[in-house]
């Protein structure tokens, strides 16, 4: 059924259709609307057979999910940013234990300086924690990916993180085709755990493993993610059969067939890039987009297949590997081993800075003119940065860079009286 609803509400409703048994929640923006929606569904009785636990921290949220999942319950939680970092120890533990927990991360920057707006620094920091990571482009896809996530998680006994851009998606009202309960029930079978805490058949879960077996255990975690590379397209196909919609999968190429330049990105920015690509296509440029839906497992072959005939790849990413450059770029380069093509890393949208069509056009013009540097910070004010660098040279106690820059920017509250 078509609804004009907030992204968070669409996700909450989609989660409820998956019949979760335990939901644990701790508030952090911009994820809050999702768990608020679910709390109303549980409290009103619309989502029956589900326990909703208001925990005291994200660390506890993931720990409650671990206990619930180990006891055979379908478990869900949501977080963002600092919250994801606060639960990291339990995040690794959940994947290590092979518990099919599904978690939404409403992507948000990491402080300091504290910043509540969108970028991908939070989930990118967890790319190697053993969870599957799926990135949603639209609210429709966010809703659909959550339904697929439970199926994928439970088939593989692996937790799945569905990443959706904070505010840009979570707080946006868009048209979403909401699935019916019958469709979801037909798609998602009841959770059948591989191992479970059961007094009728007691087992010990989570004991120590030494060097004699640790490598093999870790290899199998990798092996499961490689299996997921096979599972994810199948799960998307099955989804299409029941829901009639093409959603999910490993990658989403757009107008890449004859493209000389391919832009690679994740998440909601893909929509803006596609609009820009359409405009440039009309002007005759052979340009396309490759959206990565599954960042973990990383679809090496699929990406290689799309990019191998291009002459330039521009990787636009909403996170910065400080001291290196791009995270997605590094992964993509790995997929392009032996293929020679021009590549640029574009760091964009950090801490919620808008990625506009105008900026993208300028960027792609530069690329076309072969004037783009290897590492570019989109729309960065080099003058501001230079002034702060000068200050640090002149004065030992130069103060907070963040504060100094804001004074230069001239935020009203920061102006001297």
């Amino acid at each position: 059924m078509l609804s004009q609803i907030e992204g968070s509400k669409a996700v909450a409703d989609a989660i409820a259709l998956c019949r979760p048994e335990v939901i644990c929640a701790y508030p952090i923006s911009p994820q809050t609307h999702i768990v608020e929606g679910l709390s109303a569904l549980v409290k009103s009785g619309k989502l029956a057979g589900c326990e909703y636990v208001n925990v005291e921290s994200e660390f506890a949220a993931m720990s409650v999910a671990i206990g619930a999942s180990a006891a055979g319950a379908r478990a869900y939680t949501a977080t963002a940013s600092q919250g994801l970092l606060y639960m990291v120890e339990a995040v690794y533990n959940a994947s290590g234990l092979g518990l099919p927990i599904v978690m939404t991360v409403a992507n948000r920057a990491i402080g300091s300086p504290i910043n509540i707006w969108n970028d991908h620094t939070d989930t990118m920091s967890q790319r190697d924690c053993g969870w599957i990571q799926l990135y949603a482009e639209t609210n429709q896809e966010a809703a659909d990916l959550h339904i697929q996530a439970f199926k994928l998680a439970e088939e593989l006994s692996l937790p799945v993180m569905v990443c959706m851009d904070g505010f840009i998606l979570t707080h946006a009202y868009e048209r979403v085709d909401m699935p019916t309960q019958e469709q979801v029930d037909a798609y998602l079978p009841a959770f059948e755990p591989r191992q479970v805490l059961d007094p009728a058949a007691p087992i010990s879960i989570g004991a120590m493993v030494g060097p004699e077996a640790f490598t093999e255990v870790r290899f199998l975690a990798h092996h499961k993610q490689m299996q997921a590379l096979d599972e994810i397209p199948g799960i998307a196909t099955e989804f299409q059969e029941i829901f009639g919609r093409d959603s999910g999968g490993l990658v989403r190429p757009y107008r890449t067939e004859d493209a000389e330049t391919v832009i690679v990105a994740l998440g909601s920015v893909l929509g803006t890039i596609k609009d820009v690509v359409d405009e440039r296509r009309e002007a005759g440029e052979k340009i396309g987009v490759l959206g990565i839906t599954s960042f973990r497992p990383f679809p090496m072959l699929a990406i290689r297949g799309v990019l191998r005939h291009a002459q330039r790849v521009i990787i636009l990413e909403k996170a910065l590997a400080i001291g290196l450059g791009g995270i997605v770029s590094d992964n993509v380069r790995n997929a392009l081993s032996g293929i020679t093509l021009k590549g640029n890393t574009v760091i964009a949208g950090l801490g919620g800075r808008a990625i506009t069509k105008v900026s993208l056009h300028k960027l792609f013009d530069e690329a076309r003119a072969d004037r783009l540097e290897r590492l570019v910070f989109l729309d960065m004010d080099y003058d501001l940065v230079q002034r702060e660098i000068e200050r640090t040279k002149q004065k030992r106690r130069s103060g907070s860079a963040a504060e100094n820059i804001l004074r230069d920017v001239g935020v009203v509250a920061a102006r001297p009286a």
Partner: protein
């Protein structure tokens, strides 16, 4: 019926004396059909108080639930000595996740059981003092505050033993640990720090809080049984000597657990919904010195260069507990705190409790608290 009309006290022998009791009042451990939740073959040190406490406590839970139980364990000695894969000493469903999250994992299990309509399956969380009152404190307080249906048991050996005896928030003043060495003008752990977890638990007004020691194992069993009669969050804090960390003899574990109570340093009591409901009286009041002296961690307090003033400060802590909980019947009225501590009338069948030749003593109490 009062839940524990008779208590047993070992006085230097291994006799437990169940044969003198009715079948239903005997120790769970005397039952040949007991579950052996933590069964033999584990790697705990000789004289480990934690292994002993866990075995008695969990078998008592098993008895109370008919074996329908699941345990969540914090990282620590209990986790390490009981399980390296592929071996396990656990005969109950058992999960270890992390050091600081056992109470939250337990909450998750309880939530799952409730969602599945299996409220007959009860959940126990457990850990050492570090996992409980330090790194696990946030999760524990959250579990208490929500009144989740979990019994949490803390086995308190007063330091981080698994990592090599470092100070915890439960380490008592003056005690030597690897991070509070017995050097300098004020050797050992400092005064004025540390948490009183049972009282913090009580402040959450949860249905049941109790303390116990491994010197009185039938008392521990009875408290577990009592705890399992409640729904909601329950907390039992068990004093478990650690020969390795304390520098005490393996065969002194029970003795030290008994002495700590007899000094008043570790008050043994029960509380319901935030109020103390029963106190286990001191039977033979002894100075703290008698408890401190057999432990190497306090060795710097004694001898030629000893610290009698430090011992006096520790004695003051014990006296404060005695006054606060009414641990002695003959306490002057002026020292009794108002409205606290149910004073039980005790009558000894055997007065000579210190005699090593006496196999056991039976203490009959007339209880009104339950």
């Amino acid at each position: 019926m009062p839940y524990q009309p008779i208590k047993f006290y070992q006085t230097g022998s291994f006799v437990v004396g169940n044969r003198l009791l009715d079948q239903n009042e005997r120790s769970v451990q005397s039952d040949t059909e007991r579950l052996n939740s933590l069964t033999s073959g584990h790697r705990a040190c000789q004289g480990c108080g934690e292994a002993l406490g866990a075995r008695y406590a969990l078998d008592a839970v098993a008895k109370a639930t008919g074996g329908r139980m699941i345990a969540a364990n914090a990282t620590g000695c209990l986790e390490v000595f009981s399980t390296p894969f592929p071996e396990t000493s656990w005969r109950i469903p058992w999960v270890h996740s992390l050091f600081g999250n056992a109470p939250a994992v337990a909450t998750g299990i309880a939530a799952a059981m409730h969602a599945k309509g299996r409220d007959d399956i009860r959940v126990v969380g457990q850990g050492g003092d570090g996992g409980t009152i330090d790194i696990g404190f946030g999760c524990l307080s959250g579990m208490f505050e929500r009144n989740d249906d979990v019994l949490y048991i803390c086995y308190d050996n007063e330091a981080y033993m698994n990592t090599g005896v470092q100070r915890s928030g439960a380490t008592p003043p003056a005690a030597r640990t690897a991070t509070t060495p017995a050097v300098g003008p004020n050797p050992g752990n400092v005064f004025g720090q540390g948490k009183d977890m049972p009282r913090i638990a009580m402040a959450h007004e949860i249905p049941y809080v109790a303390t116990a020691t491994v010197a009185e194992l039938r008392d521990l069993e009875a408290k577990v049984e009592r705890a399992m009669s409640f729904r909601g969050a329950r907390y039992i804090h068990v004093f478990v000597p650690c020969p390795l960390g304390w520098g005490s003899s393996s065969n002194d574990t029970i003795k030290l657990a008994r002495l700590v109570k007899e000094t008043g340093l570790f008050p043994v009591f029960e509380a319901e919904h935030g109020e103390v409901t029963a106190v286990s009286k001191i039977r033979r009041h002894i100075p703290v010195e008698e408890y401190l002296r057999p432990q190497r961690r306090y060795a710097h307090l004694f001898g030629k260069h000893g610290h009698p003033e430090t011992i006096a400060r520790i004695q003051a802590l014990a006296d404060r507990n005695i006054a606060r909980y009414g641990l002695l019947d003959d306490l002057p009225d002026s020292l009794k705190p108002p409205g606290s501590a149910v004073g039980r009338q005790v009558r000894w069948q055997s007065e000579d409790l210190s005699e090593q030749t006496s196999a056991m003593a039976i203490l009959t109490e007339t209880t009104g608290a339950h």
